[in-house]
């Protein structure tokens, strides 16, 4: 175990590196209030496990802690929602994608929201956290090859979903009905 001084030094260095990206990660996926509390939880885990944090590239490891912490938090939310019988009326993806709804690229956001939650998350890790498959694999406990495959499939589904919303031959929403008829 590290001495107290070296543990603090190590933690301070890690915190300086991951403080901003962890805030962004959590605020993309939780309310601002919850994100603040969750940040404390994640940092506390990092503090307690500072000897386990990879030296060269600590961020994916820290994201994986954040992911588990967030997952636990969401389960708590869902339990509370069930208690008041509201869960059925709230699609899971609404919780995940609410921040995106306010932004301008509604079609893409809408298409993304049609994907399964796991596909949405892998897309977000790729496009929002700007991670590569090997880093995503570290977070998800998977392999780079498997992540590459899943990411490729998720992107394909996303493209298909966008095509359904906005057929390429016209680009007009008025043709959507005809497109749906063809399918």
């Amino acid at each position: 175990m590290s001495s107290d001084f070296s543990r603090r030094q190590r933690f301070e260095a890690i915190a300086a590196e991951v403080y901003d990206p962890l805030q962004r990660y959590l605020r993309r996926r939780a309310s601002p209030d919850d994100a603040g509390d969750l940040l404390g939880d994640v940092l506390l885990t990092i503090w307690r496990r500072v000897d386990d944090v990879p030296g060269e590239s600590p961020l994916p490891w820290c994201y994986s802690v954040a992911r588990r912490t967030l997952s636990n938090h969401r389960r708590g939310i869902r339990r509370r929602l069930r208690l008041v019988e509201r869960l059925e009326s709230e699609p899971p993806s609404a919780l995940l994608l609410d921040p995106a709804k306010a932004l301008e690229d509604d079609e893409l956001a809408a298409a993304l929201s049609t994907l399964p939650a796991a596909d949405q998350e892998i897309i977000r890790l790729w496009a929002w956290e700007q991670l590569e498959p090997r880093e995503i694999a570290e977070i998800l406990g998977s392999t780079a090859n498997a992540v590459s495959l899943r990411l490729s499939r998720a992107k394909k589904k996303l493209s298909e979903s966008m095509s359904r919303q906005n057929p390429p031959e016209s680009g007009h929403k008025g043709d959507r009905h005809a497109e749906e008829q063809r399918r």
Binding site: F11, R27, T45, R48, D52, V65, A127
Partner: protein, 203 residues
């Protein structure tokens, strides 16, 4: 196409790089970090909570420190390995010290169980004074010692989520970074807990 898609998706990011975050150097950030660094590091499961979170259940368990057995059954690294390596030989020795009776627990979840580096199922074969000996019936992860000894100088009642270790009973135990994990991450062998261990570690 891929780069274009990534760029378009990035524009949906509600926390894109121009959205400010709190700097690690602000007084409130510094306070948060100082609070965290004043937190003991030896008595929690690895995804430990912050004290202010209401969802954390107050645990009555004592911390249990995993120490190197006589003869070196457990090789704990000093500087960063996540997985201590246990070699066959003398029994593991666990010291259970009731040094934090106010420790808090996270809600049990297989996801938290999975990365724990040491997990086994064992049966209590001897209770003598402050020491309990278990035979390791099955190692799920992290070792193959045939016996594990737990020393609990301040009372076994406080050990592992407030249940005692009783002669002849079987328990599922995990440990992380030298600490036995309590708060539901170790406990009597029930079908539910065994199923969780099998899901987390494989059978």
């Amino acid at each position: 196409m891929t780069d274009e898609l990534r760029e378009r998706l990035a524009r949906l990011d509600p926390m894109h790089s121009e959205v400010p975050t709190e700097s690690v150097t602000t007084p409130s950030s510094r306070q948060l970090l100082e609070d965290i660094m004043s937190t003991p590091v030896t008595e929690q499961p690895e995804t430990g909570p912050t004290p202010k979170k209401s969802r954390w259940l107050l645990g009555v368990a004592a911390a249990a420190a995993l120490v190197v057995a006589v003869g070196g059954a457990l090789a704990l690294s000093d500087g960063g390995s996540a997985d201590p390596t246990v070699v066959a030989g003398p029994p593991l020795e666990l010291n259970a010290g009731a040094n934090d009776s106010m420790a808090m627990c996270i809600v049990f979840d297989v996801e938290f169980l999975r990365p724990m580096p040491l997990a086994f199922e064992g049966t209590v074969t001897e209770v003598e004074g402050d020491t309990v000996t278990l035979t390791a019936d099955h190692w799920f992860k992290g070792g193959d010692a045939s016996q594990v000894v737990i020393n609990a100088p301040q009372g076994l009642e406080a050990l592992i989520d407030s249940f005692p270790l009783e002669l002849g009973e079987q328990y599922l135990i995990t440990a992380t970074d030298g600490n036995v994990n309590y708060c539901g991450f170790s406990g009597p062998s029930t079908p539910e807990l065994r199923s969780a261990f099998e899901e987390a570690f494989g059978s």
